[in-house]
Symmetry: C2
Subunit: 191 residues, 2 copies
């Protein structure tokens, strides 16, 4: 299959999945939206609905951008690194807000199978970043690395969710604040 037809189908599937959910979007609807007049046209390119969704997750995830941020972020010390990485990741996720919905679908329908596969590839780079933070200095050494990452990730997620809620993606409006990480950094910094 050419890359054009593939992207055409993925775009149709994405639009429907985002607006009507996974089970709310039928293969017949996706086929129609993609310009086919019969469902079989879809099954010529993707084995089944699940394979179509997996292709969508593989194509739309922020994997590359997150890896780039973690590898290239700079800072004078640990707190500076954390602050810069947090801001850079927030900026990345602004462009991937719709991916949040795909992630939810993955969690619900496939027990997070597809996102976990991607996470497996990102995790090594995350650990490498955490070690960079620790070695850059200015961070309390009595805080374990997993604990620091859980706090960092939790705040990042809560910031993304607050952002998504504010933009009406998942619910109703709520005020967003970009400095939530500063409180954590204050707690992590050496006295």
């Amino acid at each position: 299959m050419t890359d054009d037809t593939r992207q055409n189908i993925l775009a149709a599937a994405e639009a429907l999945f985002l607006s009507h959910g996974y089970h709310g979007s039928s293969m017949r609807q996706i086929a129609k939206q993609a310009g086919y007049s019969a469902v079989s046209g879809l099954y010529n390119h993707f084995g089944n609905k699940e394979a179509l969704f997996e292709a969508l997750i593989q194509d739309r995830n922020p994997y590359q951008d997150v890896l780039a941020v973690l590898a290239e972020v700079e800072g004078q010390d640990g707190p500076d690194l954390l602050r810069n990485a947090f801001a850079a990741l927030q900026a990345v996720f602004v462009d991937y807000q719709t991916f949040l919905k795909l992630l939810l679908i993955d969690l619900n329908e496939f027990e997070g199978r597809f996102v976990r596969a991607i996470w497996g590839e990102v995790m090594p780079e995350v650990l490498r970043f955490a070690q960079r933070v620790r070695q850059a200095g200015g961070i309390r050494q009595d805080v374990a690395l997993p604990l620091m990452l859980q706090a960092f990730g939790g705040l990042l997620i809560s910031s993304m969710v607050a952002n998504a809620v504010a933009s009406g993606l998942l619910g109703q409006a709520a005020p967003s604040d970009e400095t939530v990480i500063d409180v954590l950094i204050e707690g992590l910094a050496v006295d």
Copy 2:
């Protein structure tokens, strides 16, 4: 309908929703599990599948327990209050781990409609708790209340998710740590 038949149906629906998801659990399966030989037996008690799910969310949510914790938690100062509330809420959510899955279903299938309704009743008490924390002293006054709540909630959620992942509810195992809140409190405390 008697409370027995109601709880019988809810238990059957919960077991199936948790193990096979919302669309993976058919009304026929639920009816069978609840002891009926025809689907219609279900429709005598719940108007449709969505109403059945809503009743389940209403019946299984931690609303009462969370309200009780927020109203009754004590502490010598702000940091102490935050620490005690965090621990108490963590303890509550241990008993409601399966509710996480119902929450996910609500987010995915109903845009979080049912959980938002519950949240609307909890929020006033949450704000009252935040003001108690601030007035109890020992907390930086330059940190806005919504920011403090977002950080507190984000860490609570990340702790719950880490717990759920560790228990295999949502995915594969990961180490859990109960002191993630201490880092935040360190950042919130007055110098």
